[in-house]
């Protein structure tokens, strides 16, 4: 345990001079036991002698040391009481695939009690036997391992079926045939997982598109305002996360969650101010609205530049949003994308409910369908306009919170999403929220299925061309609004 704690200490970045002398001389020999021993004594000397701090210089940890330490820590952790730590240690050792560790693991089999850890170790031993066992062992190993989704197994089997020059690397024909059959079986599974992965990627790209477009679906779709400052409202939302994280650096997760309502308010109020101050005077004049809101977008960008500097700001992801959900070696879903997907669906559902179930929603629909009639019925259309625009802007702010978790937070954030947002709304059908949802997801998935074949640049172009052609055929998008109000 002593060495283990020292190693942790070292890994955190403070290697004493003494340790480096030992490690550098030992790394050449590569003996792990000696290395660990050296660390232990080195660490103790350091503590006991009470060295003058100024004699020590900070030695920086680089990748080579990091890998060695990782291995050392994992080997030590094999003896830790906690089952999960032991399992993680076995997995780490498996990835490093060092023949020397197999011996240690085999010894561990005798004393290990936890079923999960036992299985993991057995698998590693089997992988080793693929190459080094006798014929029976190897056949058994292939038979057992083909059920597992492990990249290491694939690599080993691949190596066994490959040719080296004229002859095969693997001399034994039986084993070679078995290996190649097992490989085909695993590869079939890999393809299935790859398809699942691509769909997930597409959905998550779609979720980002839906989030950024859904506010626009309200302001542009329902109200008919071409709001070029929509992207900048998202930017305000993203900066809200930054500010809140600066205010409470101890609670990153809380700050991120809190910034959802705060960003809604900030962007929503800004939206209302824009509507009351500018857009209200320009209803019925789309070209002027476009120019005026473009001006607003430049104004907001420059304001942010002056306040926060033109440099990007760093927004951290809370720990529960980092990393991925590793289902197996071939399928892993990243948490941040996963949460954003769920989040976008929630926002969408909430918005649909607001429009369907609340008084505001009723008024919004009434005003957007027939303004004159709605006014005649006593609906204060000016107030409704302001609130609707505020709602659309507020949702843009929420989208900004999500974007801050996956991309840069800087003055140009909005610009990179505004075109995509308009594209989604137009493709989905102006004035239809479900159209926006479907358009966002289908564009996302189409993009991700095209990307491996066409490359990122071409995939984007192909999607754009498709939309242009589609709009030629169906100018009102996927789900056109029907009714007399629209026809006029």
């Amino acid at each position: 345990m002593n060495a283990y704690s020292h190693l942790r200490f070292l890994r955190n970045g403070f290697l004493a001079c003494l340790c480096l002398c030992f490690s550098s001389s030992l790394m050449a020999e590569g003996s792990l036991a000696e290395l660990l021993d050296a660390f232990r004594t080195g660490g103790m000397q350091d503590k006991e002698a009470g060295l003058d701090k100024s004699l020590l210089s900070k030695i920086n940890v680089n990748n080579r040391i990091r890998t060695l330490l990782k291995k050392g820590i994992a080997l030590q952790q094999l003896n830790v009481a906690d089952d999960k730590t032991r399992l993680a240690a076995v997995e780490t050792l498996g990835k490093l695939s060092d023949p020397a560790t197999v011996k240690v693991l085999t010894d561990r089999l005798l004393v290990e009690t936890n079923q999960g850890v036992l299985e993991a170790i057995r698998r590693l031993v089997l992988i080793d036997q693929l190459q080094n066992g006798n014929k029976d062992e190897r056949i058994k190993a292939i038979d057992t391992l083909k059920e597992f989704n492990s990249q290491e197994v694939v690599n080993q089997l691949q190596a066994m079926t490959e040719k080296e020059g004229e002859s095969f690397k693997e001399n034994d024909t039986d084993i070679r045939n078995l290996a190649s059959a097992a490989l085909t079986e695993i590869k079939g599974r890999i393809q299935a997982y790859a398809a699942v992965e691509t769909v997930f990627f597409g959905l998550s790209l779609g979720a980002v598109l839906v989030l950024s477009a859904i506010g626009l679906a309200i302001t542009f779709g329902v109200m008919g305002i071409i709001n070029m400052a929509h992207g900048e409202l998202m930017m305000l939302g993203a900066y809200t996360v930054y500010v809140l994280q600066q205010l409470m650096p101890e609670y990153l997760g809380l700050a991120t969650v809190l910034s959802i309502p705060v960003a809604f308010l900030v962007a929503g109020l800004t939206g209302i101010a824009i509507e009351r101050g500018i857009i209200r005077h320009l209803y019925g004049r789309p070209l002027e609205t476009l120019l005026a809101t473009f001006g607003v977008s430049l104004f907001l960008q420059q304001t942010v530049r002056s306040i926060f500097s033109p440099l990007n700001r760093s927004v951290s992801s809370p720990s529960w949003m980092s990393g991925s959900w590793q289902i197996n070696d071939f399928l892993a879903l990243t948490w941040n994308r996963f949460y954003i997907l769920i989040f976008s669906l929630l926002v969408f559902a909430a918005l649909v409910q607001i429009l369907k179930r609340t008084k505001l929603g009723l008024e919004v629909r009434a005003v957007s369908q027939n303004r004159a009639m709605a006014r005649a019925m006593g609906i204060p259309s000016g107030q409704v306009d302001a609130l609707t625009f505020g709602l659309g802007s507020g949702i843009a702010g929420i989208a900004g919170v999500a974007l801050s978790q996956i991309t840069n937070v800087g003055p140009n954030l909005g610009q990179s999403y505004i075109v995509d947002s308009f594209m989604v709304v137009v493709f989905g059908g102006v004035g239809n929220l479900y159209g926006t949802l479907l358009a966002g997801f289908s564009l996302g998935i189409a993009n991700k299925f095209l990307e491996p074949y066409a490359g990122a640049v071409l995939a984007k172009i192909l999607v754009l061309i498709f939309i242009i052609l589609f709009i030629q055929k169906r100018p009102r998008g996927l789900f056109p609004q029907k009714g007399r109000a629209v026809e006029s």
């Binding site: 990007n312 700001r313 490359g455 640049v457």
Partner: protein, 432 residues
């Protein structure tokens, strides 16, 4: 008569005043040497270029404190080309014809440099270009103080190949001239070292690309084939943040698949969450963390000038530092700011760089620099893990592309040419 004389007197007076005014402006114009600063202060490139503008103002300020140049004060003329490439050419013309600057320090992207090139050659100006670039160019009027490919990309690949034993390569870049040319050179270089083409994966993405899921997943698959894999990244600007985030989220650690970047420096890192980046690499000719007294002084001076103790220094700033001081030395040597005289005088001029060596202006208008490879640390700084033991001379024309192999740039007599073909013994006549 009285009226006449009064009018006359007025006229005479005003003429005198006017002539005095003219005289004084002409005196003032001769009193100062104008230096043009051509960096975008707005638009997408403002992120990087504003810092270089401030660096130039600081350097000029310091030179003036030392007593100026040739007994005259230096006067900076700052213009804003607004990240708009044609505007770069217009502003360069304005600087040379209207303001009559003696030298221009500016440009960041290769496309902005290419846009300024014809103007600067037509008007015979001087441009000091401070950013690492793709090479394949040497103009009589441009001095390249950033790294050529052999001063950044090739040594980085060598390090990965020899020290980290990398066998499979992902060349990922943003889709424009610098990454494409660099990757072409790297691909040729890797193949010359016996790397099979199935072990090289090349990928381009648009500017500001933010959805890296499938590309990172591909890299992961490519890298899990049992051979040590590395990513050589020429991804530029904003796209880097989501790229590294995705790497971190998909669990690709620097120990498994290291990424070596050519466009990520201290300044870019200051706007990123560096946690997922720790251990990834970058190749530059200067790191803020370099331990030298000159560097410490430079950092202090910068923090004081910009009045912000948190600001960082980076490689292009050092390039301007070297370039500006070389120009000062050359002007002193020539005794004039005349471009032709300075062009002659500056070749061979030496000036200590901030990493501890002495850089030299070479006949091909590139400079010699050390190459450093650093690992990103959690505090947004680099730790040097490898460096060349002597300075590397910048090579304008790559030796690894068949077309440019026989070509050399030498602006001294008798060749005096930016693209002299050593096989045909001819200068192609093309100016760059």
């Amino acid at each position: 008569m009285k009226v006449f004389s009064a009018t006359f007197r007025k006229l005479a007076l005003s003429t005198a005043v006017m002539s005095l005014a003219f005289a004084s402006t002409s005196v003032r114009a001769e009193d100062t040497i104008k230096v043009g600063v051509l960096h975008s202060l707005s638009g997408t490139m403002a992120i990087s270029e504003t810092t270089l503008k401030d660096t130039m103002l600081m350097l000029i300020d310091e030179q003036n404190k030392k007593g100026g140049l040739l007994g005259k004060k230096l006067e900076p003329v700052v213009v804003d080309p607004a990240s708009n490439w044609p505007l770069f050419a217009e502003k360069a013309r304005e600087l040379l014809t209207k303001d009559k600057v003696s030298a221009i320090f500016g440009c960041w992207t290769s496309v902005s440099r290419k846009s300024v090139l014809p103007v600067i050659e037509e008007l015979n100006g001087l441009l000091f270009y401070p950013v690492q670039y793709e090479g394949e160019e040497s103009s009589k009027n441009v001095f390249y103080t950033g790294a050529a490919p052999n001063q950044q990309a090739i040594p980085a690949v060598d390090y990965l190949m020899n020290d980290l034993k990398v066998k499979r390569w992902v060349l990922a870049g943003t889709d424009y001239v610098y990454p494409r040319t660099t990757n072409k050179i790297l691909e040729a270089y890797l193949k010359s070292k016996g790397v099979d083409s199935k072990d090289i994966m090349i990928n381009y993405t648009p500017f500001g690309h933010s959805d890296w899921q499938s590309i990172v997943a591909d890299v992961k698959k490519f890298g899990s084939a049992g051979k040590k894999t590395a990513v050589v990244s020429t991804i530029n600007g904003d796209a880097n943040v989501p790229f590294y985030k995705e790497l971190g989220n998909q669990g690709i650690k620097a120990e498994d698949i290291p990424v070596v970047a050519f466009s990520v420096g201290e300044e870019e890192l200051s706007g990123m969450d560096t946690k997922p980046l720790v251990g990834h690499l970058a190749a530059w000719n200067y790191f803020m963390s370099v331990d030298s007294t000159k560097n410490a002084a430079f950092i202090n001076q910068w923090k004081e000038y910009i009045k912000n103790p948190k600001r960082v220094t980076n490689d292009p700033m050092e390039a301007h530092y070297i370039g500006f001081n070389m120009w000062v030395k050359a002007v002193e040597k020539a005794g004039t700011t005349d471009p032709d005289a300075v062009q002659k005088a500056i070749i061979g001029v030496e000036y200590p760089n901030l990493s501890g060596g002495t850089s030299k202006m070479l006949p091909n208008h590139h400079i010699s620099k050390p190459v450093l490879i650093g690992e990103i640390q959690a505090d947004g700084q680099f730790v040097t893990v490898w460096q060349t033991n002597k300075l590397v001379d910048g090579d304008a024309w790559s030796d690894f592309l068949p077309d440019s192999k026989p070509i050399v740039a030498d602006w001294t007599a008798p060749i005096s040419c930016g693209n002299y073909n050593t096989k045909t013994k001819k200068c192609s006549g093309q100016k760059y």
